[in-house]
């Protein structure tokens, strides 16, 4: 285990790391991030890392995973760059562009690794498009999107800090107001 603890954090769960715990220890690790990520290796699937602490469960909820899905959740893991972060490992799961946009709204600094046969075959940083269609409801009850048949559209005014605005009524949407359109009706992202 001590060898595993010295592994660099970029492995994101790939490789022969023995499983011991599902979440991090309570105290922050003073040295590297690796010692805290004591989770099962992933053969095929997706790892979403660098989620802001406290957002992983919300990410899971908006992904609408099947009941039988195998998912490892890391909460409040120590992170050198973020101090605390969350992490998700999903077995045999690939994310669509629409799903990535949803996750990006909650975790604009997140990274996504695609794992195949224990190897990281693709690693990308989550990025928001400038316009997101059909993903977020406008929270303004007087907005035309609640009264006429129209796909809700939000504009991303800024990525960091994340600032969203309803394309139609122009109202700023706070992150704590974000209400997602059900995953089953997500259209293509522009």
């Amino acid at each position: 285990m001590s060898a595993a603890r010295r592994r660099p954090p970029s492995r994101k769960g790939a490789g022969p790391r023995p499983a011991r715990a599902r979440t991090a220890p309570a105290a922050p690790a003073p040295q590297a991030e690796a010692p805290s990520i004591r989770v099962a290796k992933l053969r095929n699937g997706t790892v979403i890392d660098h989620l802001a602490a406290g957002t992983a469960l919300r990410c899971l909820a908006i992904l609408g995973l099947a009941p039988e899905a195998v998912v490892t959740v890391g909460l409040n893991l120590p992170s050198r760059s973020m101090k605390r972060k969350d992490l998700l490992k999903m077995e045999n799961r690939r994310l669509t562009a629409a799903e990535l946009a949803r996750i990006a709204l909650l975790a604009p600094r997140g990274t996504v690794c695609t794992i195949e046969d224990y190897r990281v075959v693709n690693k990308t940083r989550l990025e928001l498009p400038t316009v997101i269609d059909g993903v977020v409801h406008c929270p303004n009850p007087s907005c035309i999107t609640h009264h006429d048949p129209v796909v809700p559209r939000v504009r991303v005014d800024s990525n960091d800090p994340l600032r969203l605005r309803c394309h139609y009524c122009e109202r700023r949407i706070r992150l704590d107001e974000v209400e997602f359109v059900p995953a089953s009706s997500v259209p293509a992202i522009k």
Binding site: C138, N140, S142, C143, I144, T145, H147, D148, P149, V150, R163, C166, H167, Y168, C169, E170, R171, R172, R174
Partner: protein
């Protein structure tokens, strides 16, 4: 009459929608004010440049000044209007979507002005048609042509639209004319003081946006303390129709009343604007004061809207 206008900007306005003050740069706002000056005092009417053009006025909400001044503007330039002034007489009453209404009407006209109680309706209408769409007010969101009129009136009176201290009084929560002008006045580089009852303060999202742009408006409920330092005071009506709770309206309806006595504390040259209609917020005795510009402002509606319609339709005299 047009050589004074920058041809590149004239091109930029041809066929354009006028939906929100946020869609315009400072340069474009000043361009509209310059263009409007060419249409003042009957300017541009003799040539009747919009002969044969039809403007559809789709007013799903009551309006006097906006609708009539648009109608006067296009008629004075030789064009004509069709439309309705009450959603009850449109197909919306039969359940037709806004999108479909606009798709139908676009076959009858050359440009559309829409007023709608729902925020964002004008932008949705603009997406449904290839014609230029003008937002005549969408809920409590925006009223951009009113902003052009307000700025035009301020420039007439003060000679400039930046570097001024502008106060806003009244319903800053629901007032779309105030929202649109606050956004534009901040972008033009003015100091802002916002005077309202606590219940009717500017929405937090707009305040946040101003702060991000480096503008720090003063918020207060004390009109008399704020008056002394202002160049312009923009008064708005407390809009009963926007209140869901009648008790809340009763609490604030008489919050402010501008009269000669209140104005004793104001600077001698204070310019007073109001998008009208007024109810109780300005005593009629103020009308005769030199700085009372609100009727002039209403008349400027025709001048500015003549300019906008000519620019959008790409037919300048």
């Amino acid at each position: 009459m047009t050589p004074a206008l920058d041809p590149a900007l004239v091109d930029r306005f041809k066929g354009r929608d006028i939906l929100s003050t946020r869609d315009f740069t400072r340069e474009e706002i000043l361009f509209v004010l310059d263009a409007a000056r060419l249409f003042a005092d009957g300017g541009g009417e003799e040539a009747r440049p919009l002969r044969g053009k039809v403007l559809a006025t789709l007013f799903f909400e009551p309006s006097t000044r906006t609708r009539l001044s648009f109608e006067a503007a296009i008629k004075r330039l030789g064009g004509n209007t069709i439309g309705f002034a009450d959603a009850g007489v449109s197909s919306a009453a039969k359940g037709e979507s806004l999108h479909d209404t606009v798709r139908v009407v676009e076959g009858y006209c050359d440009a559309i002005v829409i007023r709608h109680p729902r925020e964002g309706a004008a932008r949705l209408a603009a997406e449904a048609t290839r014609l230029p769409v003008v937002n005549g007010g969408d809920g409590s969101n925006q009223h951009p042509t009113q902003t052009f009129i307000d700025l035009y009136t301020i420039r007439e009176a003060r000679g400039r639209v930046s570097g001024l201290h502008i106060g806003f009084l009244g319903d800053l929560k629901y007032g779309r004319a105030a929202h649109a002008l606050i956004t534009a006045a901040a972008a033009m580089g003015n100091r802002l003081t916002l005077v309202s009852p606590v219940e009717l303060r500017l929405p937090g999202s707009i305040m946040e946006e101003l702060k991000e742009a480096g503008v720090k408006p003063v918020q207060t409920s004390d009109l008399e303390a704020a008056l002394g330092d202002l160049d312009v005071l923009y008064v708005t009506r407390i809009q009963q129709e926007r209140f869901h709770d009648p008790l809340e309206y009763e609490r604030v309806r008489n919050a402010y009343r501008l009269d000669r006595k209140t104005l004793e504390g104001a600077g001698r040259k204070l310019s007073i604007l109001h998008p009208l209609p007024r109810v109780r917020e300005i005593d009629p005795e103020v009308d005769a004061m030199e700085g009372a510009l609100y009727f002039r402002q209403a008349h400027n509606g025709v001048t500015v809207r003549k300019a906008l319609l000519s620019l959008l339709l790409g037919v300048l005299p």
